[in-house]
Amino acid sequence: MTVHKGRGFAAINYPIGMNLGGDPSQALVHSNPDGKFTVALSAIDLGQGMKSVTRQIAAETLGVPIADVYVDTADSDTGPHDMGSFASRGTHRMGNAVIQASLEARAVMLEAAAEELEVDAGDLVTDGQGNIHVRGAPSRSITTMAAAQAAQFKQGRTIAGRGIFLIPLSDVDPDTGEMSPVTTFAHAALVVEVTVDDETGEVEVVDIQSAYEVGRALNPGLVEQQLRGGAWMGMSHAAWETTEPYYPARDHGPVDFNHYAMPGPGDLPTHHISVLERPAEDGPYGGKGPGEMCANPMLPAVVNAVYDAVGVRIDELPVTPEKVLRGIRANGGAKPRQAL
């Protein structure tokens, strides 16, 4: 019995947003009397971090502290229309809608401040700390709260903004497939290291060295969570899970987590992540969606690593011990390559 080491490489790109476009997202932003902002959406955040990213985008664009922004979402009575959370469209589409809504609200806030300070709104800047001041003259300032109160109780203005982002729907040529699928792509490449036991056929992923290009890491913590979790899902797709283990036969389908195999905490490899940022020209602050593409390179990288380790090409996922052992037997034994 020998445990063989092998390494595998894969590189991918990933289209960001609903294919062909035609998928609008809307946002509404308004200020309460004390200068706190509510962002109203109907987007769905089932844990991926959408609410936090849109909150940061709103705070950045409005020029107010993050603590002064609250995102309210997922209610069809209060949130304007959004197409949904899929196709890596949340950050890209909704982020842009929130920027547009925030810019409109910000403009009113600056006009209100300008009236109070008796200056031109075009000369005003925000410091992101809750103050609005004349460019180059920080002492001529007003708090965002005071500006919001003046707007609502004195000037009769609504500090509010509407935003929508829509990429018009593309045609598809039936004969050539010509189309405009998306406007931007994220990228990734990684090297995985596996061990393969030539007696049991078991494959263990032991290390991942990755590079992911995400346009802009709007919140590096959330990006890291997505990438770490996504790589885990990718390795699970590669070497663990399926609802039909003998596809296309439907036998032996798992019905619970005792039989649906997925890696647990003890199976996690080390994973070193490098993030590259090449801003997308139409992304919110350049951001692309990292959430989907992070899983994809793991699948081929693992099968390539198994080949490197024992010389068995597995072209049907998942890589099960049964397939590895059958392959080794067909080859007349393990044929380690260690070529990468």
Partner: protein
């Protein structure tokens, strides 16, 4: 080759000249607004929205891959303790749907509760509503269904052969119809056959993915209750609030103003909660009983009845020069969409737009089929339309590297797409970063690259001749289908027939082959009883009901 450590870094020096990093909030590791609730278990799942008098709904499901429904006898089940109501297809106002009808893409092809036949193991034919979940489960066992078992097909290539059992009455040949014209989606760029003939090596491969479960923490479901003013509130785990609201409005034939949908904040989705029909069934239960109703899958249903990431089969043939340049790449792809379309038709167009992967290849050809088989319908999952073919492409790249004796990282950089290159879907590449990702991953793993490839950049070396469309593209009419017309979605030149201004246009119906389809089918009040004829007719679909449509484009195209 030592095992590394966990780590995270931002490589700010790469593409630094394209960014303004001087921002207040963007780029910060700000703590999530909702994290405390998530980690302390206080964030509500939809299942936490319980009501007094809540009823529970469970489905009666097919034990067969393919069968005609002769009779459903609910008499014994209705007398079971706690049973309030048993719902069948006759109770569903519009009992034929496809999610993407909201985009004017594809035919309504899936009953909510099937009446005439079932096409996969687990397909629902009735729903029991009872006081407790246990009572609902017991009553489900007491519903008697007389089945006439039909031959079935489970393999995608078998399903496309003449004489295969016909899975889905809307597409009797077992393939989705693209653009009203072909039984597959085509990609044609350059002259594949000529380039393959001139290549130094031809590398072939076949790749298969099996179905995969999204495995969300909270299973799919919805809870509905009456609100004031004739409205219904629905707490749902959906990933797409207005898709679900639009579907409920259509299926229940209710104005969307009478629906109030509230989505979740935890529970995960990963694609499996885009096209659910839990919401209309829960609301229907409330309409029929006057009480709040919960319809939620258990884990077994989530895994075997809930739509998985579908299986995909890909054949790839590459023409490669001795120096590693790939000059031709052909794909034949089969998406196993199961018994009904759901979102697979969309994923294929997305996948075709993605071909041939992140490489500049001057001759590319693809035929991709959306195939109906007698299994659980497939749907979206993280990376939908891309994950399967990326597995195929990148496993294949390794074979190409071995064939030409190149380091696999170098092969990728050599063929990587760069700014200014023409892509196979005929748009110019920009904002590329594949080369840099390859370089960083190789550097970290200690894979040595040649000086040329270390110096390569996504910003240079592209465009010029690489940015030109091919002088000649070979096209064909293979897979031509008659009797279908296209909706407006993804359709070059828009839909063929202009819409009447007074009424939304009904979807064209496929004719029973080979006669051509009528332009529009009149609404029919209820589905016919089970047919004795061997070829099941699609239930006649009512003209598009009052449900909202999202197709912004079909909207302004048709003005």
């Amino acid at each position: 080759m030592s095992v590394g450590t966990n780590g995270f870094e931002l490589r700010k020096e790469i593409f630094a000249d394209e960014r303004d990093d001087n921002l207040n909030e963007i780029g910060k590791r700000t703590r999530r607004q909702d994290i405390e609730g998530h980690v302390t278990g206080r964030s509500p799942f939809y299942d936490d929205h319980l009501f007094d008098g809540l009823l529970h709904m469970r489905c009666v499901r097919s034990p067969h891959h393919h069968a005609r429904v002769r009779r459903i006898d609910t008499a014994a089940a209705e007398r079971m303790p706690g049973v309030v109501r048993i719902v069948t297809g006759r109770d569903v106002p519009v009992n034929l749907n496809t999610l993407l009808s909201l985009l004017d893409f594809g035919l309504d092809d899936e009953p909510i509760l099937s009446e005439a036949k079932v096409a996969y193991k687990g397909e629902p034919v009735a729903a029991v509503i009872a006081e407790t979940e246990a009572q609902a489960r017991a009553a489900v066992q007491a519903v008697r269904v007389e089945w006439e078992v039909l031959p079935h097909v489970l393999d995608v290539e078998e399903a496309l052969k003449p004489g295969a059992p016909s899975v889905n009455p809307a597409y009797p040949k077992n393939a989705f119809v693209y653009h009203g014209k072909y039984d597959h989606q085509k990609l044609r760029y350059g002259d594949l056959d000529r380039a393959l003939a001139q290549a130094d090596h031809v590398v072939e491969g076949r790749y298969q993915m099996s179905p995969i479960e999204q495995a969300p923490m909270e299973t799919c479901g919805a809870i509905a209750a009456q609100e004031q003013n004739g409205r219904y509130v629905c707490y749902t785990g959906t990933q797409a609030l207005f898709f679900s609201l639009g579907t409920a409005s259509k299926v229940l034939n209710l104005p969307s103003s009478r629906l109030h949908f509230i989505g979740g904040t935890v529970g995960g989705g990963f694609g499996g909660k885009v096209d659910s029909v839990h919401e209309p069934l829960a609301i229907l239960g409330t309409m029929l009983t006057g009480r709040p109703v919960k319809f939620q899958w258990d884990r077994e249903e989530e895994m075997q009845v809930g739509a998985p990431r579908g299986a995909e089969r890909w054949y790839i043939t590459d023409g490669v020069m001795a120096d590693g340049r790939i000059v031709a790449r052909r794909f034949t792809g089969y998406f196993d969409c199961g018994a009904y379309t759901r979102l697979s038709s969309y994923a294929i167009i997305k996948g075709v737009g993605h071909l041939p992967g992140p490489y500049t290849i001057p001759n590319v050809y693809a035929d991709v089929y959306c195939v109906y088989t007698n299994r659980t319908p497939a749907t979206a999952m993280r990376g939908f339309g891309i994950t399967g073919v990326d597995f195929a492409i990148e496993a294949h790249m390794d074979k190409v590297a071995e064939t030409v004796g190149m380091n696999p990282v170098e092969l990728r950089i050599l063929n990587a797409y760069r700014d200014g290159d023409m892509k196979a879907h005929r748009r110019v590449a920009k904002n590329c970063a594949l080369v840099e990702c390859c370089q960083v991953a190789a550097e970290k793993a200690g894979v040595r690259l040649s000086p040329d490839l270390l110096a390569a950049s996504s910003k240079t070396g592209g465009g010029g001749a690489r940015g030109q469309l091919p002088a000649h593209t070979a096209t064909d009419q293979n897979g031509r289908v008659e009797g279908y017309s296209s909706g407006s979605y993804a359709q070059k030149g828009g839909a063929s027939a202009p819409a009447s201004p007074a009424m939304p246009t009904p979807m064209p119906q496929p004719a029973p082959p080979p006669a051509p389809a009528p332009a529009a089918s009149p609404p029919v009040a209820s589905a016919p009883p089970p047919q004795p004829a061997p070829a099941a007719q699609p239930a006649k679909k009512p003209a598009r009901s009052g449900a909202m449509r999202f197709s912004s484009l079909s909207g302004f195209r048709r003005r």
